[in-house]
C-alpha cells in the first residue's frame, strides 16, 4: 500500500525541479518545459488525492481539466515565443527589454 505522502513527496520534488528550471534557464522554451513540470506536479497531487474519492471523482476530473488547461497554455505561450523570436531574433527573456515597436 503506497501512502499519499509518498506521492506528495515525489510531486514536491518534481515541482522544485520545475522551479529551478524556470529560475535558471536562459531560453524561453526551457522555461516553458519547467512550467510544464510544475503543472505535472500539481496534476500528480490531484490524482493522488482523487484515489480517496471514488464516487465524486473530484481529483481525477480536475486533473483532466488541468491537463486541458496546460494544453491551451502551451499553445498560446508557443505562439507568443514565435512572435518574440520574429521581432527580437532571440528568445532569451533577459534580452527582451523593450516594449516599443522598432
Amino acid at each position: 500500500m503506497i501512502t499519499i505522502t509518498d506521492f506528495l513527496i515525489v510531486s514536491a520534488a518534481l515541482f522544485c525541479v520545475g522551479l529551478y528550471m524556470v529560475l535558471s534557464k536562459r531560453n524561453a522554451i526551457q522555461i516553458l518545459i519547467g512550467i510544464e513540470l510544475m503543472l505535472n506536479a500539481a496534476i500528480l497531487n490531484l490524482v493522488a488525492f482523487g484515489k480517496y474519492d471514488r464516487l465524486a471523482n473530484a481529483g481525477q476530473s480536475f486533473a483532466l481539466f488541468a491537463i486541458v488547461l496546460a494544453a491551451a497554455t502551451t499553445a498560446v505561450a508557443l505562439a507568443i515565443i514565435l512572435n518574440v523570436y520574429r521581432r527580437y531574433k532571440t528568445i532569451d527573456p533577459s534580452q527582451i527589454n523593450q516594449l516599443k515597436d522598432e
Binding site: 525541479v17 518545459i33 481525477q60
Partner: protein
C-alpha cells in the same frame, strides 16, 4: 516489499531522474526528448493511483500534443535558439545558477517539512474515506463513473473549459500567423 511498491519506486526514480536530466541538459533537443520519458513515467504513476483515464489522457495530450508543439516551435524558430545555449560557458557548475539552485532546494525542504508535519494519511477525511470504503478500487467501473460525473456534477466546468480551449486555440492561431498586412 510488494510489487506495487517496487513499481512506485522505479517509476518515481525514472520521473525524478529524467526531470533532473531535463533541467541540467545543455542540449535543448535532448532535453525535450528526455521530457517524453518524464511524462510517460508520470502516466505510470497515475495508473498506480488507479486513474487510468487520466494516464491515457496524459499520454495523448502531453506526449502527442504539447511535446510535438514544443518541437515544432523549436524547429520553426531556427538555429538561433541553439545559439543562446552555446553562448553560455560549459562549466559543470555555474555560479550564476547558484541562487536558483538554493531557492529550489530550500523550497523543497520547506515542502517536505510541511508534508511530514501535516501527516496527511492521518487527516480525518482520509480516514473517513478508508472507513466508508470510498477508496478507489480496480473493478472496471471507474471510467464509467468518471464519465457520468463529467456529464452531471462537473458539467459547468466541462463546458467552460471547452470554450476556454477554443478561445485559446483561436488566439494562438491568430498570434502565430505571418504579419503580411502591415
Amino acid at each position: 516489499m510488494s510489487l506495487e511498491r517496487v513499481l512506485f519506486y522505479l517509476l518515481s526514480a525514472i520521473v525524478l531522474g529524467s526531470a533532473l536530466f531535463v533541467a541540467s541538459s545543455k542540449n535543448l533537443v535532448r532535453s525535450v526528448f528526455i521530457f517524453f520519458i518524464t511524462l510517460f513515467a508520470l502516466a505510470g504513476l497515475y495508473v498506480l493511483c488507479l486513474a487510468d483515464f487520466v494516464a491515457i489522457t496524459q499520454i495523448v495530450i502531453y506526449v502527442g500534443g504539447i511535446l510535438v508543439l514544443i518541437l515544432f516551435a523549436f524547429m520553426l524558430s531556427g538555429r538561433e535558439t541553439l545559439g543562446v545555449l552555446e553562448q553560455t560557458n560549459n562549466r559543470l557548475f555555474n555560479i550564476k545558477k547558484l541562487p536558483a539552485l538554493l531557492l529550489a532546494a530550500l523550497f523543497f525542504i520547506v515542502l517536505v517539512n510541511i508534508l511530514f508535519k501535516a501527516d496527511i494519511d492521518k487527516t480525518p477525511w482520509i480516514q473517513n474515506a478508508i472507513l466508508n470504503k470510498s477508496l478507489a478500487v480496480n473493478d472496471g467501473t471507474a471510467i464509467n463513473n468518471l464519465g457520468v460525473n463529467f456529464m452531471t456534477t462537473y458539467l459547468l466546468p466541462f463546458e467552460v473549459i471547452s470554450i476556454v480551449l477554443m478561445i485559446a486555440l483561436i488566439g494562438a492561431a491568430h498570434l502565430s500567423r505571418r504579419e503580411s498586412a502591415e
